[in-house]
Amino acid sequence: MKLGLLLTLVTSPLAAQSVRSRLEARVPTGAVSTVDSLVQVAAREGLPTEPLVQKALEGGAKHVSAARIGAAAQEMLDQLRDARALLVRAGDAPPATAAEVTTIYAALKRGLPAPVVERIVAAMPQEPRGSALHSVADLAAHRFDPDSSASLIIDAAHQGLRGERLLDVSTAVVHELQRGHSRAEALAVVRRELPNVPAPPKPARASVAGARRPEAASPPPP
């Protein structure tokens, strides 16, 4: 506990300092202070800060006004708090990691109902849920019932599919839909075949050979 408090006290000012340098000249001056203070609040509360920075940089790149960037960052901070509260409600062992909070935030942002997200979190303890949540959100985007979609993805996880392979489940369901099955049939067809769902093709050699590594490529925010 003491160590955690010490780390928070040490890392928060460092985080805030690096954030300022990243925002200046790229975000309207008025928004820098607002976002900076929100980042410090997030750091103090143990919430992820990188999504706030990314939202501010995005707003700056899109020439959005300072007020709008500040409002978007404030809204995001509230949603990050909601995401962490959901993790607690679902029985996730505290403290919630930045990556998990960001994952839940992204799932809610994609429109998944909170009870469905909670169900997936509870069904998949101690393992990354990002792909599972994206898979359910993909199906919901194709107007599948989120609850039925969550059931399928949870079944797939229980049958041994892990991580990105869960994305292949929703892809398989959408393929069945495109083949003319009804939504209920598509879910049933894929459920029968579990855990056998086709994996995506590897990138073609020509694509890999022609690929470039961008100068400013950065890993995704935690």
Partner: protein, 203 residues
């Protein structure tokens, strides 16, 4: 060995009348005479000369038929190679099969890297860039190309695995959502970002 009754010999030679034989010996004599008649009726085996002449008179087969025949009949192929050359050949085959060939000047991908392909149709565009959380939303760093000037712009990029949001920037000022993307999300600024999930290329 069962010796043949001498009366059968005498009957076959005509020295003994068949009627003087007992019934079972008479049957044997009749069978032997029938067998001799069959042998006498069999055609004579053709000699070498008529067979050669018949083959000469037969029309020559076509070139295709000879070729098909050549391929269908087993042949003994003798290859005379110096041992040093056979060793060199074996080494070359081993090199080709065991050592991966360089596919070009492409990047070597790490375990946590994948390939992202961006495609958009912008017929009147002068420049198209992709901007997103993978490059801190910096404009102008990842250009798309339209090499054949058909209005379809493309870029293939190596990125760390993970989930990103992005948009296209056309002619440096117009922000356009990639509607070909499978996943979209509101950007909180009145537009939609596309979601990109980069999976490890090495699986």
């Amino acid at each position: 060995m069962n010796p043949i009754d001498p009366r059968i010999h005498r009957a076959l030679d005509g020295e003994l009348a068949r009627e003087d034989l007992p019934r079972e010996l008479r049957l044997v004599v009749e069978r032997l005479e029938a067998a001799a008649a069959l042998l006498a009726a069999a055609p004579a085996v053709a000699g070498l000369e008529p067979r050669v002449m018949a083959a000469l008179r037969r029309p020559a087969p076509s070139r295709m038929r000879r070729l098909v025949r050549w391929f269908s009949i087993p042949h003994a192929v003798t290859l005379r190679v110096r041992p040093v050359w056979s060793l060199a050949l074996a080494a070359a085959v081993a090199l080709l099969t065991l050592v991966p060939i360089d596919e070009g000047n492409g990047p070597v991908l790490g375990d946590h890297e994948g390939i992202a392909q961006f495609v958009g149709r912008f017929p009147d565009a002068q420049t198209v860039h992709v901007v997103g959380s993978f490059n801190d939303w910096r404009t102008g760093t990842i250009p798309l190309e339209d090499r054949d000037h058909d209005g379809v712009w493309r870029a293939t990029v190596v990125l760390p695995t993970g989930t990103y949001e992005y948009m296209f920037v056309v002619d440096g000022e117009r922000w356009v959502t990639d509607h070909l993307a499978d996943r979209l999300v509101e950007d909180d600024f009145g537009r939609e970002n596309s979601i990109l999930i980069v999976r490890a290329a090495r699986r």
